[in-house]
Symmetry: C2
Subunit: 146 residues, 2 copies
């Protein structure tokens, strides 16, 4: 039996992702109270303006049910606004309110600072690490190893 869990890449990847998420959550939680899905929805809206649930679902890797519920909570918190999409009444337009935009400006700064901190910790391995990350995502997203 040569296999060792501590050296297993999927395991280490999972641990690292969990720890980094916790660290980031600890940084912005007090200020925002956002969960991870809510954070992703807000971050996407901050970049893209008015989009549908389906757009977010596809772009930020969240099940559409999760996007839907997150949007409802965020609407209740006054951070985004839902409106009917002109032309296609199946769609819903989501966009940030002024308050939502203001929050995302602060969170954007926190996020940038945190990313800089991580890159500093990575030091000379930063470039290789990020290149590997992107390669894994690209290879895995397309369904395997084509």
């Amino acid at each position: 039996m040569t296999f060792n869990l501590d050296e297993f890449l999927p395991y280490r990847l999972n641990i690292a992702a969990t720890l980094i998420s916790r660290r980031f959550a600890a940084l912005h939680q007090d200020e925002s109270g956002l969960s991870i899905p809510e954070w992703r929805v807000m971050a996407h809206l901050a970049n893209e303006g008015a989009v549908s649930v389906r757009d977010i679902h596809k772009r930020v890797n969240l099940d559409k049910s999760i996007v839907s519920r997150a949007a409802s909570r965020l609407e209740g918190a006054g951070l985004l606004r839902k409106s009917a999409h002109k032309g296609d009444r199946r769609l819903i337009s989501l966009e940030l309110t002024t308050e939502g935009r203001r929050l995302m400006q602060r969170l954007g700064r926190i996020a940038d600072a945190f990313q800089a901190e991580i890159r500093a910790e990575l030091g000379k391995d930063a470039a290789g690490f990020e290149a590997g990350l992107d390669r894994l995502i690209a290879r895995s997203a397309s369904g395997g190893q084509p």
Copy 2:
């Protein structure tokens, strides 16, 4: 607004971990039917022999309630055995059955092959990627940036 979610490291890390976990699950699911917690418990037992719930909880980053429930399911499936710990009756000794050991031999081979596949995909970035991963885990586990 300069922030972009797609370039945000915690986000990319989370996506990569999820995708890799899915790929690995797809490989061994048919053969084993194990969930991620069950897989971790089994993998640890395969290396360590008889250990307690608390040991696993600390070593493989799972809440003790999750370890406890996973162990019960695995016991029901005939893959591990619970027995009283001599000397300290609060503890429970967990160890693989013959069937469990046999399963882990097959899964160990699958895991090793999968890891080789990932390293091949990473190519020249493999070393930097893994070094970065370990560094992030080490820095984050110790509570921050000491």
